[in-house]
């Protein structure tokens, strides 16, 4: 039980990960699965850019192109960006608040498997008759019109993955509210924890509308309902609202944790506490709240009328204010600091101008009357890639370099890291800057080709070249990861030397019980405070005692597998396949059966005894 470094066979490791409920291992799972999906989405992006490199290109067909953009958007948002953020939340947040575990380890595992099987299901569409092709927004009239099973894969896959995200969010919320170490008050929580908290709360309120929307769409497509069928009294605008009531908060669910990551990096490498910590917290909460009031800015051209458009335009602009507060607080965190330009800091630093550019174009598209021009053009594509790639992806790359030692106990190579940065950063601006102009020059988005002679050729070519740079950057990162893991040079608790928060107070990677004794938190940047007083570690808040741990479990996998099977049944039921309904029932039976097993079989976990803990210590020293 106590020695972790034992060499295990592949089968044992696999089983370990299939059944794990340890938040740190679940973080690995999220990182790997999210990373794979990121590469999938990235390859799709590259295919888009190849097709659009020259006018009248026939690299992919029109239908295939629509499948590719749909899957690119859907994969990147739901299966890459969010899970990768979840990876860091899982790896770091419990450590940052000084907790031994998350509130619901079992649910945590279940959340991962739901996301994974949902994503798997969605991507199987490529092999089973075609991917969804109505855009990641899947507007109702087109998605009901779409033939084949593509949209069904979208609806069912996202439903499953979305459930995983929802319970993941609840788990983080309860963890943060209930499991903070002694002395860790709300206003002492690191900003990454705060943003995790607010993003999780947003998940809690934003995902149910998506669930409902997807359910209605499923009923319409698979079970003969008429929510969106105009001839039967239905209304397609309902879908648009439900999607964006979810969709807009979703983009802040992505960016807030990214802000959190950068907040940590800025203060760490400036050796300074975060400037204006309380206003940062306030701004985070405010962004989270306002995020729910603005969804109709995606629907300015739907025809909601000038009153609605005006209200939503002004509400949207308001979000610029708290975001600006954050930008200036970051700048002033570095101001007067001692800024060390490590790889994570490269990303954080480059994030500021990149994101501001994306943010201000956001405010530009929020001017409703002008958005009649911007909407559904490459200007919007440029806007959201500037905020997403310039914000979220840079944060993910930064976080990967920053927390890699904490997650895996070894440092990524800094030189390769910086090469990755430059390639990616240059490629990013090359790809997306020109797209603002393409949009203004009259290029709609989601076009599988464009005709020559409209003045769009050069811009598109530049954009495609940029994507090549980004690919090169990502590939160097992959090489870096392989090289690093092969060399596997172990590092200590605080490999950057400037760590401020609790995760740097314990070993890298942390032992499976995290803290042998819960730390006593005496202020913001708890670990930094102790270091400044010359202490090596945290003052414990409790004597060494037995630690209660949850048991591993295969049930999360089974519950999810059941839903995965059931989804196939639901889908093929429209083809009058005789086995479809039985399969649906079988799948649900597996799910509910596994849930019953879970509730009937008491699982109280186990205890690590005091003696073992002290032995561990000695073993480590020897």
């Amino acid at each position: 039980m106590s020695t972790i470094a034992q060499k295990k066979g592949f089968g044992a490791v696999l089983w370990d990960y299939l059944t794990t409920v340890d938040h740190k291992k679940i973080a690995h799972l999220y990182l790997i699965a999210g990373g794979l999906f990121f590469i999938m989405g990235g390859i799709e992006a590259v295919l888009i850019r190849i097709q659009l490199a020259v006018p009248n290109n026939d690299f992919v067909s029109a239908g295939a192109f629509n499948e590719i953009i749909t899957m690119h958007g859907t994969t990147m948002i739901f299966l890459a960006a969010m899970p990768l953020l979840f990876a860091f939340m899982n790896a770091v947040m419990p450590l940052q608040i000084g907790a031994r575990d998350v509130a619901f380890p079992f649910v945590n595992a279940l959340g991962f498997w739901l996301f994974f099987f949902g994503g798997l299901f969605l991507n199987l569409s490529w092999f089973l008759g075609g991917a969804p092709d109505a855009g990641w927004t899947s507007y109702a009239s087109l998605s009901l019109h779409s033939k084949g099973h593509g949209i069904d894969f979208y609806v069912l896959g996202l439903q499953i993955a979305g459930l995983g995200t929802l319970i993941g969010g609840i788990n983080f919320l309860v963890t943060i509210i209930n499991m903070r170490a002694p002395g860790m008050t709300y206003m002492r929580m690191p900003l990454f924890t705060w943003t995790t908290f607010v993003a999780s709360a947003m998940i809690l309120f934003a995902f149910p509308p998506l669930t409902v929307g997807l359910t209605l769409m499923m009923f319409d497509r698979l079970f003969g309902a008429n929510f969106f069928d105009v001839t039967m009294g239905g209304n397609t605008i309902i879908w648009e609202h439900l999607f964006w009531v979810f969709g807009h908060p979703e983009v802040y669910i992505l960016i807030l944790p990214a802000f959190g990551i950068f907040s940590e990096i800025f203060s760490t490498f400036s050796r300074k506490r975060l400037f204006g910590y309380s206003s940062m917290v306030f701004a985070t909460v405010l962004i989270g709240f306002l995020g729910f009031m603005v969804w109709a800015h995606h629907m300015f051209t739907t025809g909601l009328g000038p009153v609605a458009n005006a209200i939503f335009a002004v509400a949207t602009m308001a979000i610029g204010v708290p975001t600006g507060i954050k930008i200036f607080n970051w700048l002033f965190t570095m101001w007067g600091g001692s800024v060390k330009f490590t790889t994570p800091m490269y990303y954080a630093f480059a994030f500021i101008p990149s994101f501001v550019m994306g943010g201000v174009t956001g405010v530009m598209v929020a001017t409703a009357a002008a958005d009649y021009q911007y909407h559904d053009t490459y200007f919007v594509v440029a806007h959201f890639h500037y905020v997403i790639v310039g914000g979220v992806v840079l944060a993910l790359l930064a976080g990967t370099h920053y927390w890699w030692p904490k997650m895996f106990g070894t440092m990524l190579n800094e030189t390769l890291g910086k090469i990755t940065f430059w390639l990616f950063f240059i490629g990013f601006h090359l790809t997306f800057f020109i797209q603002h102009f393409l949009g203004l020059w009259g290029m709609p988005r989601r076009v599988f080709t464009f005709l020559p002679g409209q003045g769009l050729d050069a811009g598109n070519l530049i954009s495609s070249v940029g994507a090549a740079f980004m690919s090169a950057g990502v590939m160097i990162l992959l090489i870096n990861i392989v090289v690093t893991q092969v060399k596997n040079v172990k590092v200590g608790n605080d490999p950057w030397g400037d760590g401020r928060t609790l995760e740097w107070a314990i070993a890298s990677p942390p032992p499976y019980y995290n803290f042998k004794q819960l730390p006593l938190v005496r202020g913001l940047d708890a670990y930094w405070l102790e270091k400044m007083e010359g202490k090596k570690g945290m003052t414990p808040a409790e004597p060494i005692g037995d630690i209660h741990m949850p048991n591993s479990s295969f049930i999360p996998f089974m519950i999810t597998l059941g839903l995965f099977i059931a989804a196939f049944g639901a889908m093929y039921h429209v083809n009058d396949k005789p086995w479809a309904i039985p399969l649906l029932i079988f799948g649900l039976a597996v799910t509910f059966g596994s849930m019953l097993v879970r509730s009937f079989k008491d699982d109280h976990g186990y205890h690590i005894h005091k003696e073992e803990l002290t032995q561990d210590e000695k073993g480590a020293k020897a």
Partner: protein, 208 residues
């Protein structure tokens, strides 16, 4: 394990549903889940309100042709009462009276079953009047909203029953007390939703 410890009336804590960390987490997590469910049902209500009486042709019944006061009233009374009985159950849980708790839970389940039975009867009736899930947007929205609630009732019944069966021989302890408590919260929430359903769907439907 403390949660499994055999307790007596004397040692039973004042708030057994939150006496251990696991219980606290469960308690809070469930409340948060209910916060999410609120938005879920709001979305369904909103959809229903947008699609109310939206039918393809005039031959189809509208809300004011369908709903009847007495049936709704009886269903409402059943569900409201079941909320009270589950409060009784929790009262006895807090007083460490396991048998009485089980008894009241049993009554709750029976009332819930009665409610479900009425709902099935009612749906059946509507279908015969031409108001089907597939016959109009109105039908789809109605059955989705009310049916979603019905599914919650069904799940709640299954949940409470499973808890009762599982713990039949065990008596109360700090491991299962929070489970009973949370299940009863769920039951109340179903009732809260119903209050809106009978108001917004049935009564407002009859007003026109």
């Amino acid at each position: 394990m403390q949660a499994e410890e055999k307790l007596t009336y004397e040692t039973w804590p004042a708030a057994p549903e939150r006496a251990t960390l696991e219980a606290k987490n469960k308690f809070l997590g469930f409340w948060l889940f209910l916060g999410g469910e609120t938005v879920l049902f709001s979305s369904l209500f909103a959809t229903y309100l947008a699609l109310k009486d939206k039918v393809p042709d005039t031959s189809q019944p509208l809300a004011k042709d369908l709903f009847e006061l007495p049936l709704t009233l009886v269903a409402t009374m059943l569900l409201l009462t079941s909320s009270l009985t589950s409060v009784y159950a929790m009262y006895h849980m807090k007083n460490f009276a396991f048998k009485k708790m089980m008894l009241w839970l049993g009554v709750t389940v029976l009332l819930g079953l009665g409610f479900l039975g009425l709902e099935v009867y009612e749906f059946n009736m509507y279908v015969h009047e031409g108001h089907k899930f597939t016959s109009s947007a109105f039908g789809s929205a109605f059955y989705s909203l009310v049916g979603f609630h019905g599914a919650h009732v069904t799940f709640g019944l299954g949940w409470i029953l499973a808890l009762m069966i599982r713990n039949y021989k065990r008596g109360l302890n700090l491991y299962n007390a929070p489970k009973f408590y949370v299940a009863s919260l769920y039951w109340h929430f179903i009732d809260v939703v119903w209050v809106f359903i009978f108001t917004v769907v049935y009564l407002m439907g009859m007003v026109g």
